[in-house]
């Protein structure tokens, strides 16, 4: 866009055409006060706080020429003859803006006096007090007295619940509509609106249940007064008493940059921290309200050792010594391969790195995994490390020229912030295609929606490839340079047409063609895939990889894959090598470990942060067969009930570390308080076990040489990297930086160097951001490079046409386990979100429910080869026929019926009477 030069309060500034006066003034360091305007929202000009004098060169109506004065300068005229709202007035050439004239000052004073006539004098009890734009602007621009009588103030009934999480105080509301516009434009949940008019004008919630949005907490942040407050923080503390600690949200692969606001050692609230690369200034309600578990009274406080049938309290020395002794004994009599370890993909990088180091180097066992191996859990297929979005990606800048494919993912449930990011891309002119077997919230954005028949998603991906090949949309230069096997792929697809592939998936051919055109012609192409795509498996992901390679959307910033693999730090777990195939020698996967344990080949296990018994109760028999089980967790989980030793660990508030998010951005979180009950961090537990193993009997400590699997009798401590003398988490991070590929720049020093002024922050930032989010003082993190970022990396096309899933008359339905954000797992303890947790149920289409004569709430029996389960029914009228969904929530009997990620089941009516689901 062409630049426009104008004068603001005597300063000459040059800004892009179309910029409004408020933003233009910010670049010059001039403050124009605002209430309704927010840099992240579209301006509406409702509050009239930004009135300024705008002078423009006078134009002669006859000649359309600028009238020149006698001094040779243009004659200036006051625009419209009166003050103009700065937020909705675009800049123009030669304009002169005056923000400090007596006329403007008079308008600002009058506007504030007017706003305060109906604003209660609540500041001492208001939760916004201290970070309130109305307070700030009144102090800076307002009158010192009011002509209105205090007794004449209008009073409403005080807090009105706008939902179970957000309270509305109608007296305080200045009706700026920031919350309404956030819900409409940014979150895409238009659940708020205005009601009545005049003095009775008020904000209402239009949805049932009220304020049903996963982003509702953000409205309390951007509210410029204390009208919207959260149930979580109401009357907890005054904001100036809080100590904001930079942290990272541990709930999903987005890795939102957050702040834990502590008062002494208690968590008061969770607020977003600005990070344009990750979450801008937003966070979802799961991150905001789902952090109460760290102060739960049910937290484990002491190590527990099994004595007979009970777990009894023990000291750390006893517990660690016992763990070391037992693990050593098992290794001596059954070999190192009789030991296995499972670590949660929610743990920070430091924990995961030392966990695998403990197993690979000290114990000598390659059997480690980062999942529970439930029968329905999909195989982790990772395209992020190889074909992930290029280094330097920033979704916040993308718009026109960007095409996004969201395949087999429900971002709202798996990684809620991606909904806002993707909606932002669409709002800025990007193109979005959603390919998913069942409808998700993303369908409501202006997107191209493709609902293939469940299990045939790969055919849609192949159809996209076919369109790209047929219509010669292939990025030829890129393909010749970096892609192999193009001719083979063409040969494999020769006998298929776009129409035939679309027919298999039962999707409209022209939609697929349009999606292929948009994706291939876009400057930036991004593919987001999630849990359902993993469920479909390699056929789909290979085809998607080939699509990205053929169109050249690989190995450059803002193009490539964003995998939403379950687990907040799944990316880190894969990078740290917590997978059986990551080492030089392949070990047992989680699923194989259960078999091995039942057969007696696996004798000892160390499970950190995972709860396999919860996911799959059948695992209990395998755990019973073990000789020794160590569980490390923050709660006494179902798995911990089977443990010989339970080791409590610190939550993210009591320690520091790093997470790697879905876009491979490594971000650091800081310690917010002394560790709860003095529990050590996970990496420290691994270190203590390793030290005990090595110190006890140095000769007996053996290590399996990973190169040949031969057991050699030699002490473990040999090289510099094998010493276990980490004092603080940064020591572990330093070692990760030297040993893990791509993590070179992720030492804490390097992460700290990424501090720089953020986009939104300006000298007068308090006007816009006070109470909205915290300035990012800790750095935006480091994005590590994908393999494809190396210009010499060459990839082979692997897509092939799969055989469709055979029909099975005995089991006519395809069962999918679908992710849910509010799954009711351990993180939800003590949270205000508990009423929103989803109870186990089955979702059926209208047609299928009618055929079964099942009404909403009726109980149905789901039967497969594995077994059966009874669940209440919910009906989704947008769901295609033949598909049954079970949300993967706490208590869902998934392992009872699932034989594989994609299971065929039979469904019969069990009891027709209604059972309350929600």
């Amino acid at each position: 866009m062409p630049d426009v030069t104008l004068v603001i309060d005597g300063q000459t500034v040059t800004v892009p055409a179309g910029t409004n006066l408020v933003d233009a003034a910010r670049t010059a360091g001039v403050t124009i006060p605002v209430f309704c305007y927010h840099p992240k929202l579209k301006p509406v000009g409702m509050c009239r706080m930004c009135l300024v004098e705008v002078w423009t060169p006078k134009i002669d109506p006859a000649t359309r020429q600028v009238v020149m004065g006698e001094d040779g300068k243009p004659v200036m005229a006051l625009m419209m003859g009166k003050l103009q709202p700065g937020c909705v007035t675009p800049v123009s050439e030669g304009m002169e803006v005056r923000t400090t004239t007596p006329k403007v000052r008079f308008a600002q004073k009058g506007q504030l006096e007017f706003l305060l006539t109906s604003h209660p004098l609540d500041c001492p009890v208001c939760d916004k007090g201290g970070e309130c734009p109305l307070q700030n602007l009144t102090m800076q621009f307002g009158p010192s007295t009011s002509r209105f009588d205090y007794a004449d103030k209008i009073h409403f009934e005080k807090p009105v619940p706008l939902g179970d999480l957000i309270y509305l105080d109608r007296e305080r509301c200045i009706l700026c509509s920031r919350c309404v516009r956030f819900q409409d434009d940014i979150a895409g949940d238009p659940v708020l609106g205005f009601d009545n008019r005049g003095r009775a004008w008020e904000i209402i919630s239009k949805s049932d249940p009220p304020f049903d949005s996963k982003f509702s907490g953000n409205t309390t942040d951007i509210c410029p007064v204390g009208a919207l407050t959260t149930a979580d923080f109401r009357f907890k503390a005054r904001v100036w008493e809080l100590r904001p600690t930079p942290s990272i949200c541990p709930h999903c692969p987005v890795g939102c940059t957050i702040s834990l606001d502590m008062r002494y050692d208690r968590l008061m609230r969770v607020m977003p921290r600005e990070n344009e690369y990750v979450n801008e200034i937003w966070i979802c309600d799961k991150g905001r309200f789902g952090m109460r578990f760290i102060e739960s009274p049910e937290r484990l406080r002491h190590p527990l050792i099994r004595k007979g049938d009970t777990l009894t309290q023990a000291t750390w020395d006893e517990a660690i010594a016992l763990v070391a002794e037992k693990l050593r004994a098992i290794r001596t009599h059954a070999g190192a391969t009789a030991l296995g370890g499972l670590a949660s993909p929610d743990l920070p990088n430091e924990d995961l790195y030392l966990f695998q180091k403990l197993f690979r180097q000290v114990l000598g066992s390659p059997n480690i995994d980062c999942c529970t191996g439930a029968p329905g859990a999909p195989e982790i297929i990772d395209l992020g490390a190889t074909l992930g979005v290029g280094k330097g990606t920033n979704l916040a800048n993308l718009g026109t020229g960007t095409a996004v494919l969201v395949v087999g993912a429900d971002p709202e449930e798996e990684a809620p912030l991606y909904v806002l990011r993707l909606r932002g891309i669409v709002a800025r002119g990007g193109d979005l295609t959603v390919i998913n077997p069942y409808p998700t919230k993303l369908d409501r954005t202006p997107a191209r929606v493709i609902h293939p028949r469940a299990g045939t998603e790969a055919f849609v991906a192949l159809a996209l490839i076919k369109v790209v090949i047929d219509e010669e949309l292939v990025a030829n230069e890129f393909v010749t340079r970096r892609v192999r096997g193009f001719d083979d792929l063409k040969a494999r697809l020769r006998e298929h047409s776009v129409a035939s592939l679309c027919d298999v998936a039962e999707v409209a051919e022209d939609t697929v063609r349009a999606a292929a055109h948009a994706f291939a012609r876009a400057e930036h192409g991004i593919i987001v895939y999630g849990r359902v795509a993993l469920t479909i498996g390699a056929d789909l992901l290979n085809a998607l990889a080939d699509l990205a390679l053929l169109t050249g959307h690989i190995g450059k910033p803002n193009s490539g894959f964003i995998p939403l693999i379950p687990g907040a730090n799944a990316r880190g777990a894969l990078d740290m090598g917590v997978r059986p195939g990551s080492g030089k020698k392949r070990g047992l996967s989680a699923r194989e470990m259960w078999t091995a344990a039942r057969e007696g080949r696996l004798r000892g296990m160390f499970i950190a942060g995972l709860d396999p018994v919860r996911d799959n109760p059948a695992v209990a028999s395998a755990l019973d067969a073990l000789e020794f089980l160590v569980v490390q967790d923050i709660f006494l989980t179902e798995t911990a009930q089977y443990a010989n030793v339970v080791l409590p660990t610190a939550s993210i508030a009591g320690r520091e570390g790093t997470f790697t998010n879905a876009e491979r951005r490594v971000q650091r979180f800081r310690q917010a308080r002394i560790p709860e009950y003095n529990t050590p961090a996970g990496w420290d537990i691994a270190q203590r076990i390793a030290r005990a193993l090595m110190s006890g009997n140095r000769e007996a400590v053996t290590s399996t040489d990973p190169t040949d699997g031969r057991t050699a009798q030699r002490p473990c401590v040999q090289t510099g990297t094998s010493t276990w003398d980490y004092v603080v988490a940064s020591d572990v991070a330093d070692e990760i930086a030297t040993t893990i590929r791509g993590y070179t720049d992720t030492t804490y020093e390097s992460l700290g160097l990424t501090r720089k002024p953020q986009w939104g922050r300006q000298p007068n930032e308090a006007i816009f951001y006070d109470g909205t989010s915290y300035e990012n003082m800790e750095g935006v993190g480091v994005q590590i490079a994908a393999e494809a970022d190396n210009p010499k990396a060459v990839f082979t096309l692997q897509a092939r046409v799969p055989s469709p899933i055979p029909e099975d008359d005995a089991h006519p339905y395809i069962l999918l386990a679908v992710p849910r954000a509010y799954d009711g797992r351990a993180w939800a303890r003590d949270s205000k979100l508990l009423p929103r947790m989803i109870k186990p149920h089955l979702i059926l289409s209208t047609v299928d429910a009618a055929a079964l004569e099942a009404t909403p709430g009726a109980l149905v029996r789901i039967a497969s080869d594995a077994g059966q389960a009874v669940l209440p029914v919910q009906i989704d009228r947008h769901l295609p026929r033949g598909l049954a969904l079970i949300p993967d929530v706490n208590g869902a009997p998934l392992s009872a019926v699932q034989t594989s990620p994609l299971t065929r089941v039979a469904i019969t009516l069990h009891i027709s009477e209604s059972v309350e689901i929600r």
């Binding site: 004098l121 500041c123 001492p124 009890v125 005080k158 109401r234 009357f235 503390a237 100036w240 008493e241």
Partner: protein
């Protein structure tokens, strides 16, 4: 030299018959000035409600960091104070307090008042922390008035403090 001795004794003799300036503390307690700043009290409204609304402004104003306020939400059926918020915990560490009276100035409801009690000694540090039970005046012991300083300055208290339900 003898003369000087008698001169001195004479002064002693003269003072012997004057009214003494000292008092027999603790039997006799000297009255303090009206604006003396002694031990704090948390006042009530005339209807018995606590004046303190738990706003923590006293804690923010305190230069010695002697005050701790933990607020909570009033139960609308049985409120402690007018409005939505009240002080669930209110503690003053008298070892830290420097009796500057900033808390009094900061209080929007005139709830905290530095009263005339000056006998503040403790056997241990723990008992130097006065809790809300210690500080809050009993319901029948009157309620806070407009502080004399505002009277002298001819200023009215802030509107929340005017609420007298």
């Amino acid at each position: 030299m003898i003369g000087a001795l008698f001169k001195g004794l004479g002064t002693t003799l003269r003072y012997l018959f004057r009214k003494p300036v000292t008092v027999e503390y603790p039997e006799v307690k000297r009255p303090v000035r009206e604006r003396f700043r002694g031990r704090h009290q948390l006042k009530r409204f005339a209807n018995g409600m606590e004046r303190c609304i738990g706003c923590s402004l006293c804690a923010a104003a305190c230069p010695a960091d002697a005050i701790l306020v933990v607020p909570a939400e009033n139960d609308p059926a049985a409120p402690h104070s007018p409005g939505e918020r009240y002080a669930e915990r209110y503690e003053i560490n008298m070892l830290r307090c420097i009796f500057c009276g900033y808390c009094e100035d900061a209080c929007p409801t005139n709830a905290i008042v530095l009263e005339h009690q000056y006998e503040l000694s403790f056997y241990d540090r723990q008992s130097s922390i006065l809790t809300k039970d210690d500080l809050l005046v009993p319901p029948d012991k009157g309620h806070g008035e407009i502080p004399p300083i505002l009277d002298q300055l001819n200023r009215r208290p802030s509107p929340p403090a005017q609420i007298d339900l």
